[in-house]
């Protein structure tokens, strides 16, 4: 026989059970939400810290570029960049100017790294040295690029007719 379950009072146990279940669900949802919020906050803080660090790094790099000793690779890159940026056409324009057609260029020495160029011209007279210097500076479009270092006098012929020859050495910097 099945027992008779009759009660004129509604059982309150179910209400307690449902309330407890709802409470448990609320606690779980709350704790999970709290955890998620906490993680989100941590992420935001970390992202902010990362952004600040990146900004600091960028600022530091902008303010104090690395010295070549510190980073050989960067130094090599910088040197290559400088080489590529140097305009050698200015040198060729200068030495190929028609004003210098009467003098003979004997030697051209250039240092690609520093941009130092040394020209040696063979002159017929001492006075031509000033003409060559002016012509080079005029061709460069800028006064003071070329500077006369020295003029050497040498005798050529070795025979009956002996003529004097001069050699002018000029120095300039190509940028």
């Amino acid at each position: 026989m099945r027992s008779v379950r009759i009660d004129f009072v509604e059982p309150k146990a179910w209400k307690f059970i449902w309330a407890a279940a709802a409470l448990v669900v609320l606690v779980i949802v709350g704790s999970t939400g709290g955890k998620v919020w906490q993680l989100r906050q941590q992420r935001v803080v970390l992202e902010q810290q990362l952004a600040a660090m990146n900004a600091q790094q960028m600022q530091r790099l902008a303010q104090a570029p690395e010295s070549p000793q510190d980073n050989p690779r960067a130094a090599s890159e910088a040197a290559a960049r400088r080489l590529l940026q140097r305009d050698w056409n200015r040198l060729y324009d200068a030495i190929e100017t028609p004003a210098l057609a009467k003098v003979r260029l004997v030697q051209l020495t250039m240092d690609a790294g520093s941009g130092q160029v040394v020209l040696e011209y063979e002159l017929e007279s001492m006075a031509q040295a000033a003409v060559v210097t002016r012509a080079l500076n005029d061709a460069s479009g800028q006064a003071g690029v070329w500077r006369l270092e020295r003029v050497d006098k040498s005798s050529q012929g070795g025979g009956v007719v002996e003529t004097d020859r001069f050699r002018a050495v000029l120095q300039g910097v190509i940028e």
């Binding site: 026989m1 099945r2 027992s3 008779v4 379950r5 009759i6 009660d7 004129f8 009072v9 309150k12």
Partner: protein
């Protein structure tokens, strides 16, 4: 409002008999005149137990079949629960000799396990008990007929047992609940002695024997607690049960 400081109080209410069992206090038996209105009876209980000065009561009330008899009815297929309650109340109006149009004066509680079985009590009785329980910050935890509690006895949980006879101080009740869900109940109000009850049951079983063979348990609810507790008996008012023989 329920409180941890409240006290559990078991009350058995019948016509002409009231039992009050409080924790740590001997059983209090009260036998008012059967004609005394229920409200006065309950007031007497309050006065005798000094309820106004005691902790709030958590009341577990059991009613005798004289106040809350069983009702059986047929439930047509496809009927909703609210309609089943209305059918139960209409059937209960016959038991209480109330005109069917006044079925609203009867409160029914349906059984969850056995379809077509309900307990019915008068609305006025239900209201009186509920108001009385709520007095002095009390709480009515349960309000059940004793015959429903009796079916929870170990002796009745056997599958083969289909019939339970219960003799109370003021009523004799027979419950015949078959596993198929059909139920037959009958309750007689009156002060039966064990001999009268057994003879009535014997007559009834003779009539029923022609229709079907069913095993049953007959038990008696006594006012005074017995020395030897019936182990197979119901857990509610455990000391008051005995086998009817």
């Amino acid at each position: 409002m329920w409180s941890v400081w409240s006290e559990r109080v078991d009350v058995y209410l019948g016509t002409g008999v009231v039992l009050v069992q409080r924790q740590g206090v001997p059983l209090w038996t009260f036998e008012p005149p059967a004609t005394l209105p229920l409200g006065d009876v309950l007031r007497q209980v309050d006065l005798a137990q000094h309820r106004a000065n005691s902790k709030p009561w958590r009341l577990h009330v059991h009613l005798s079949a004289a106040l809350c008899p069983p009702v059986t009815f047929v439930v047509p297929a496809g009927v909703k629960r609210q309609e089943v309650r209305a059918i139960a109340c209409a059937s209960a109006s016959h038991v209480w000799n109330v005109p069917a149009e006044h079925a609203a004066e009867i409160v029914c509680s349906l059984d969850a396990g056995n379809q077509g079985l309900a307990a019915a009590m008068l609305q006025s009785t239900h209201r009186l008990i509920a108001q009385w329980a709520a007095e002095h910050k009390g709480l009515l935890v349960s309000l059940r007929p004793l015959w429903a509690a009796a079916t929870a006895a170990k002796a009745c949980t056997d599958q083969q047992v289909e019939c339970v006879a219960l003799l109370e101080p003021d009523a004799l009740t027979v419950l015949n609940l078959s596993p198929t869900g059909t139920a037959y109940t009958k309750s007689w109000v009156g002060r039966y002695g064990p001999v009268d009850a057994l003879s009535s049951l014997a007559e009834m079983s003779d009539q029923a024997a022609e229709a079907q063979q069913s095993t049953g348990v007959a038990m008696a609810f006594n006012r005074e607690p017995t020395q030897n507790v019936w182990v197979q008996g119901p857990s509610a008012w455990a000391k008051h049960w005995s086998v009817l023989s």
